[in-house]
């Protein structure tokens, strides 16, 4: 299995990244503060006003290091991309399947099944672990509701049905998401999922973590030779990484939602770390963002047994494992796509 390479996050405003030999140098106020060999890095993520020398961009392209630029609040802006690599035949097969609605529906079905099953387990775990009486019935109802949706997906269904079921299950899940937070209840309230902009603290955290995850999935798909823009569940739209969003569905609950919940419940993020702007959008302060990134990097290094590969891998490699399995399925080496099912 591939090694999990480190991610370099640059959050210092006004930092300048340059290349020296085969290393990445981070300069702050004309002084080098960090020099890392490029082969130790899998991706570089720059937040806000961070500049980058063209030679470093070239090096990243050559070494397959993903270099992404995000706004200070974590909204994705741009990515530097080296020459297209991977297998044309695989990519063409991916395009053919994506155009074929029935074939797409079959892949989308397994992905959505995994998504619902994984989010259901998040709820079940909460029922098992927390002893608070409040909300138990609502969560139980949602769990049962999701079970019904899972049963609908057992039979062959059209792409539209899959999408409908996905939406209904997501509603059921997010309807009781508020009850999953046990600490600082008055500051971390979740009413409904809101994006662009996130309207409360929980949504701000979720959106930020989803952005980080989708970048990881995108580069994983690319290194498996797939095109992250051509999806099965999500349709093509310019600038949207549809396939990355597809693969992310099954990882969302396990990697992102649970991560956000534990940040809140373990009180690793404080209500004081969030500010509301005039437009109602909620922003995190630098300290909170840094704490989140450190926790996220640590979480990516945790190891689990992959249920399908039966191999011990770090959580950060989960997107790679799924991308590789999807590529194998498209090549016809596997009978079906084995999504990530958490148990």
């Amino acid at each position: 299995m591939k090694q999990l390479l480190n991610t370099l996050f640059v959050t210092t405003q006004g930092a300048y990244l340059s290349k020296k030999g085969d290393t990445v140098v981070v300069n702050v106020e004309h002084k080098p503060v960090l020099r890392v060999p490029v082969h130790n890095i899998g991706s570089i993520i720059c937040f806000g006003n961070v500049m980058c020398s063209p030679f470093l961009m070239g090096l990243c392209g050559k070494q397959n290091v993903t270099l992404s630029f995000l706004t200070e609040n974590g909204r994705f802006l741009a990515r530097v991309h080296g020459p297209v690599n991977g297998n044309v035949l695989l990519r063409k097969e991916q395009f053919r399947r994506s155009d074929d609605l029935n074939a797409s529906a079959r892949i989308a079905q397994t992905m959505v099944t995994a998504k619902i099953a994984n989010s259901r387990i998040v709820l079940l775990r909460h029922l098992r672990d927390s002893c608070s009486i409040e909300g138990v019935n609502i969560i139980r109802n949602a769990v049962e509701n999701m079970m019904e949706h899972l049963q609908t997906l057992q039979d062959e269904c059209s792409l539209d049905t899959v999408r409908g079921v996905e939406g209904m299950a997501a509603n059921a899940y997010f309807d009781c998401f508020d009850h999953l937070m046990t600490a600082n209840k008055d500051a971390f309230v979740f009413a409904t999922r809101s994006r662009r902009p996130p309207l409360d603290n929980v949504n701000a955290l979720l959106s930020f973590v989803y952005t980080l995850l989708v970048r990881d999935v995108e580069s994983a798909l690319e290194s498996a030779g797939l095109d992250p823009a051509v999806g099965f569940l999500h349709r093509d739209r310019p600038g949207r990484p549809s396939l990355a969003l597809d693969v992310m569905e099954e990882l969302r609950a396990y990697l992102a939602d649970r991560f956000v919940l534990s940040l809140i419940n373990r009180q690793q993020v404080r209500p004081s770390g969030f500010t509301r702007t005039e437009s109602g959008a909620v922003m995190m302060d630098d300290q909170t963002r840094k704490a989140l990134l450190v926790a996220w990097q640590k979480r990516k290094q945790e190891e689990i047994m992959h249920p399908f590969l039966k191999e011990k891998i770090s959580l950060g490699l989960l997107p790679h494992a799924q991308a590789m399995l999807l590529a194998r399925y498209l090549r016809g080496e596997l009978e079906g796509y084995p999504p990530f099912l958490w148990r």
Binding site: N6, A15, D22, V26, V36, P37, H39, K290, Q297, Q301
Partner: protein, 96 residues
Amino acid sequence: MMVLVAYDVNTETKAGRGRLRHVAKLCENRGQRVQNSVFECLVDPAQWVELRQALVGVIAEDTDSLRFYFLGKNWKRRVEHVGAKPGYDPQGPMIV
């Protein structure tokens, strides 16, 4: 795996000083300078073969010496730092 590379290059001659700079540059490209002529390189076996070959090719074996310590995968248990210039952990969270 983590490899600790320490070198001694004789700098009495001009060629020697050239070799010193060359060795330092090779190490800097692959690892972190932890002391003046001591580097910690986090490499996979293929990268190690490449680096070793390059280093061995540069030095003059009658005057200079190289020493490699293989700290393996669990290198974090085997390293302790005291004092100035603590350096960074290439596998830990890297946030600047």
